[in-house]
Structure formats: structure tokens, C-alpha cells
Subunit: 353 residues, 2 copies
């Protein structure tokens, strides 16, 4: 079905009909000049984050299903709110849509967003929908509450550096998808070049046993559970952020804003078996993937040394190093313990090249 059959307002009504407001603080959602939100002072402060996702830069629709994309577009925003020790409550969603999209495509995208909103308890309260000259543009703003927001600037020398989950898997998932995409085009082009001799190739991507990598890339989760666990055991991190551009880049942010240095240990980096095995297959250094891959959406945080025993009680968290005096800079101690490698933000920088 063509989007023009609905028109802008009809389309928004159609797509958002399935999103009843769940949170008490969401007083008014889609349909007016503004959404209206009321947070009580006991719930804490209001936190706001926003992410812009552009086709061809942040996602590739040849292998990213729209439903997954809708899910991921929400989750990456929720992740920023959890990274303040907050709770996401509302999102606004703006879409720029080119002519090649049908109503059914948008329904898929909204189905993914609905799933994410349901799982994380978030309300869709507004947005803007527009035609676009080119690809799909997604801009999501997430609003949440945080009783005591945890910033990037509170780490102190000797604080322990912790990271949730494991690193590098989303990056390996991306490499895998890119390889299979290239193989598909290669087979297809050969068939075209040979004058379409024989049947069109039935390309089967090789993904068996790599489900975890694909899931980490295509349908990541935000670490709501970690924030809950930290609150339960009574830990307030001295600094926190989520790992979206790569651990190296994020450690440098915390160091810079906290006016500290840091030491992390290569052997302590949490890496899944599939990530390691795939890195070997691709002949990539798995440490580089873990340090600079990005899109992990894990939580990186620091706690005072005195909370060492307390933090060990929290499952799913790895201690990877400690903060130092600023003058010592930020570095990784290699596996053999003999050398230090200065951290560089080799993470994703779309303005380069």
C-alpha cells in the first residue's frame, strides 16, 4: 500500500494506534503540538538523549530487517538512559521516508519499535513523519528519569573499571553480514555476466553457529538488568557510560572527563567464544575487535576500590582494570604483561575517509 493513500496525519494515526500509554508520567502522547510528561520529584531528574540513524551510514537494509531496525533504533536510545543509571520512559520518533517504502514496511518498523517499547516499558509519545528525497532517516529522542544520574566525570584514581557482558560480537556480526552480502553479489554478478545461464543462484548465507554474533549486531539489548542489579546491591558507580563507539573510545571519554588515566588488562577483556572464533576465521586481532569494534551497548562503569567485594556479587560483570592518576595516561596492559599500549579512539568515525 502506498503511503500517500494515508497522508501524513492518517499514516501517523495508523502506525501509532497500537501504542497505548503505559507510564503514569506520560500524560499525553501523539496528536498535539507537544507530548506532556509529568515526573514527580521523588522519581528524580529528567534525562534526555537522542540518536540519528541514517541509511547507508548507520544501517544497510539489504541485511537489516526493518523490524529489527525499529527495535535497535529504540534500544540504542534506552541504552544511553541506562548509562545514566536512569529508566527510559518516553520516546519521540521522527522518520524521513523515501518513495520506495510502502505502508507495510513502516508497519514492520513500528512492530519492532513496539516490541522494544513493551519489553522496556517505554511509551511512544510523539514524532514527526516526512517524505525524504533519498533513504530512510530515523531520529529518536528518549526521555527518562534518574534518581541520581551517573555522569562520565566522577571516576577517581584507583576506582575499579567494570564492563558488563562481552565485547566485539556486534562488530564481528557486522563483518559477517558484509562478507555474505559481498558473496551474494559476486555469485549474482557472475550469473548475470554469463548471460543468466542456468538457474538464478539460490544463495545461502553461512550463518550456522554464528547466531549470537548476528543477534548482537541486528537486535542488541540495553542493560536494564545490570542497572537493576547495581541498585539492588546498593552500588552507585562513580562514572558510567554505554559502549557504542568501542571500549577504547569510551575509556578515553571517562578519563578525559574525570581527569584520570586508566589501565585495562587485555587478558581481562570479556570476549565470547563465537567472537574469538570468528576473528580467527577473518584473521583479525580479537583484542582490537573488542577494544574498537563498537555497538556493544554494554555498560562501562567505575566503582570505588572499597566496593570490590560488593561488585563481585553482581553476575555478568567483569573487572577489566582500574583508574589511575591523569599523568599516567590511558593504556592497555598486554596479555604477556610486558608492555602497555596507549589507547586510541579508533572507534567508528563517520567523518573520516
Amino acid at each position: 500500500m502506498e503511503i500517500s493513500e494515508y497522508g501524513e496525519f492518517g499514516l501517523i494515526e495508523h502506525l501509532t494506534a497500537n501504542f497505548p500509554l503505559k507510564n503514569k508520567s506520560s500524560l499525553y502522547g501523539v496528536g498535539d503540538d507537544c507530548a506532556v510528561i509529568e515526573n514527580t520529584p521523588e522519581e528524580g531528574k529528567t534525562v534526555v538523549t537522542t540518536d540519528l540513524l541514517l541509511e547507508g551510514i548507520h544501517f544497510d537494509l539489504t541485511y537489516c530487517p526493518l523490524r529489527h531496525l525499529g527495535y535497535k533504533a529504540c534500544v540504542v536510545n534506552f541504552s544511553d538512559v541506562y548509562a545514566m543509571m536512569g529508566t527510559p520512559r518516553q520516546i519521540t520518533v521522527s522518520l524521513g521516508i523515501s518513495k520506495r517504502f510502502k505502508v507495510e514496511d513502516l508497519e514492520e518498523f513500528y512492530a519492532g519499535m513496539k516490541l522494544a517499547c513493551d519489553i522496556y516499558g517505554v511509551d511512544l509519545v510523539g514524532g514527526d513523519t516526512s517524505a525524504s528525497m533519498t533513504g530512510l532517516t530515523i531520529s529518536i529522542t528518549c526521555i527518562g528519569v534518574a534518581e541520581s544520574p551517573v555522569y562520565r566525570n566522577g571516576a577517581k584514581p584507583n576506582d575499579l573499571i567494570c564492563v558488563s557482558g562481552d565485547l566485539g560480537a556486534a562488530y564481528m556480526g557486522l563483518q559477517l553480514l558484509e562478507r555474505e552480502k559481498a558473496m551474494f553479489y559476486q555469485e549474482y554478478n557472475e550469473w548475470m555476466r554469463e548471460g543468466k545461464k542456468g538457474e538464478q543462484p539460490q544463495f545461502q548465507p553461512k550463518f550456522e553457529g554464528k547466531e549470537y554474533l548476528l543477534e548482537r549486531q541486528l537486535k542488541p539489548e540495553a542493560r536494564k538488568d545490570i542497572v537493576q542489579k547495581l541498585k539492588e546491591v546498593g552500588i552507585t558507580p562513580t562514572s558510567m557510560m554505554d559502549v557504542s563507539d568501542g571500549l577504547s573510545s569510551e575509556l578515553l571519554h571517562i578519563c578525559k572527563q574525570s581527569k584520570c588515566g586508566c589501565r585495562v588488562y587485555e587478558e581481562r577483556l570479556p570476549i565470547d567464544f563465537q567472537t574469538a572464533s570468528q576473528a580467527e576465521e577473518f584473521n583479525l586481532n580479537v583484542t582490537t575487535c573488542a577494544m574498537n569494534g563498537g555497538e556493544d551497548y554494554e555498560l562501562l562503569f567505575t566503582v570505588p576500590l572499597a566496593q570490590n567485594e560488593l561488585i563481585q556479587q553482581v553476575s555478568g560483570i567483569r573487572l577489566i582494570g582500574h583508574m589511575t592518576d591523569e599523568r599516567l595516561g590511558a593504556a592497555m596492559i598486554t596479555r604477556d604483561g610486558n608492555s602497555e599500549i596507549s589507547l586510541k579512539a579508533q572507534g567508528w568515525n563517520a567523518f573520516k575517509n
Copy 2:
């Protein structure tokens, strides 16, 4: 200067260095996973609006200077907050930037945003900056406070329909800019076709005496003053919205959501002299321009009949009609008083054609 010389984080730091936080409620701005905001309950509820502006759809950089665009991108969001009887306080700004933009271009854009933020007392607290494959993408979210938000759904039959300022000027400004652009290309193409004989044409657009139309299109204002005046005389409108898609379209929104009909009087429509004169020059029906032009960013609102005398005290407001029972539908009474024309949302619909 190339954007890549800064990189994403350096660029954001450079562009936002000039935006110190002004509002007490802006606890933390640019530089963390989230901005942090604290509204006291006495200030009212939190209101949120968002607008997506795409190059080639919403603006044309051949005649829209980046500084004006930055200003306008902010103001259209502020306008939505005023339309709730609110006060804008914070914005987040996401930009998708293609390779043809230099740092200096973005500085111009941010200078326009800074001017708007200074004039309207708003803080820039966050955003996202990314490369883009094609044109410029601008997504702004505005957060404000409203003691008693005014929705679109509170109008009652017999309420008076009021509109601030005048209508149709921004649309005429757009037509004028489009005409001059076409004339420029025509002259230039003729010169190219004739083998570049003679000097390159020094095209001078004809804008004398039409400054108001251009200003309404390129550098609109939000009606903060009207909201203040209404508060001063103690009027709380029963419904309110801003005129962005055209008066017809907005009246239909209020009618639909308030479950009312309406009658507006053609002879009561506020139209500036320049608008009328330009419409005549273009052989356009000035009423159609005023009803369907859009981008006026005036306030459309309803007040109870009993506040007739009170509203007359507020300068810059025109009574244009009244709400009716829903069964009567939404219509305009023509100048001669003899016929009713049903309102249609002929306003801008980018999905059509």
C-alpha cells in the same frame, strides 16, 4: 576547513562551546550519554516536541542561508511549545551532514541557533552529529514546561476562534524565492546555451518592498509575546495550536479533536498588505494563500464567548469565527456572506505527488 579534521567529538565541542547553560532547570548539557533536566512541580508539566527538516523537502539551500535555517529550525520547535501555552527551555539538535559542508557552514548554522536560543531563553543540551550520504538532515527536539498545557481538544461550540498576526505571508515569500530562483537559472542557462557570450549575467533578484514576505519565510518568529499577553490578562484558551500546515488544516485538527464544527469568515482573515499585493501579482487567490499556505507559525486558539471583551484587549489578535456543533462541519463563510466553503486540509502534504 574540513569536518574530518575535527572528528565527531571535536566538532561537537567546537560548535557547542558558545552555548553556556542559562536555565536553572538545565542541570547538565552536551557531553554525556544524556542531558539532565530538573523542572520543579510549581513550574508545571514537561512538554516535548520534535521536528525533522530534510534538505530538498523542507528547505532549499540555494536561497535559504544556513544562519537563517538554524534560526528557523529552532523557532518552529519553540512555536509548538508556545502552542501548549508552554515555555521552551531546552533543545537537542541532531545533524546529518554530507561531505559538501565545511566547518564554516556549520558555524553559520550554529550561529543562527544561538541567536534563536538567546532570544527565546533556551539551552542547547545535547544532540547527535553524523555524516550523511546526501543532503543536510536536521532533527530538533524541544523540551519545555507548561503550567496548564492547552490541547487541541478543548474547544466547545460557540467558543470564539482567534488567530495571532497575519496569514499567508510565508507562503508568498516562498513563491517569490522560487520565482527568483527559476529566473536566475533561466538567465544563466541562456548564457550557457549561447556559448557563454558576453559576461556572466549578474542576476539581481527583485525583492524591494517584499522584505516582510521574505522574513516570514526565511526567519519566522514564534509567538512568545502572545502567550505572555494571554497569561497577563488571565485568558486560558480552551484549545490552541500553531499554524504550520495552513489555517484550514489546523482548524480541522481542532474540530476533529474537540468534536466540534466551525465557521470562519473570509473577511476576517488577517492578511498583510504585501501578501495581498504579491498574490495579485502572481494571480493567486489571497484567501487560498491565507487558508492553506502554511509556515505562518501564528497561534490559532479558541476562547469562551464570555471572554469576548477580554480578548479584544489583547493586541495582535484577530477573531475570525466561532466553533459550532460537530454536525455543522467546518466551513468558511465567503466575503459576500452568501456561501459556505467546506474546509479541506490542502496544506502541505509531502507524501502526495
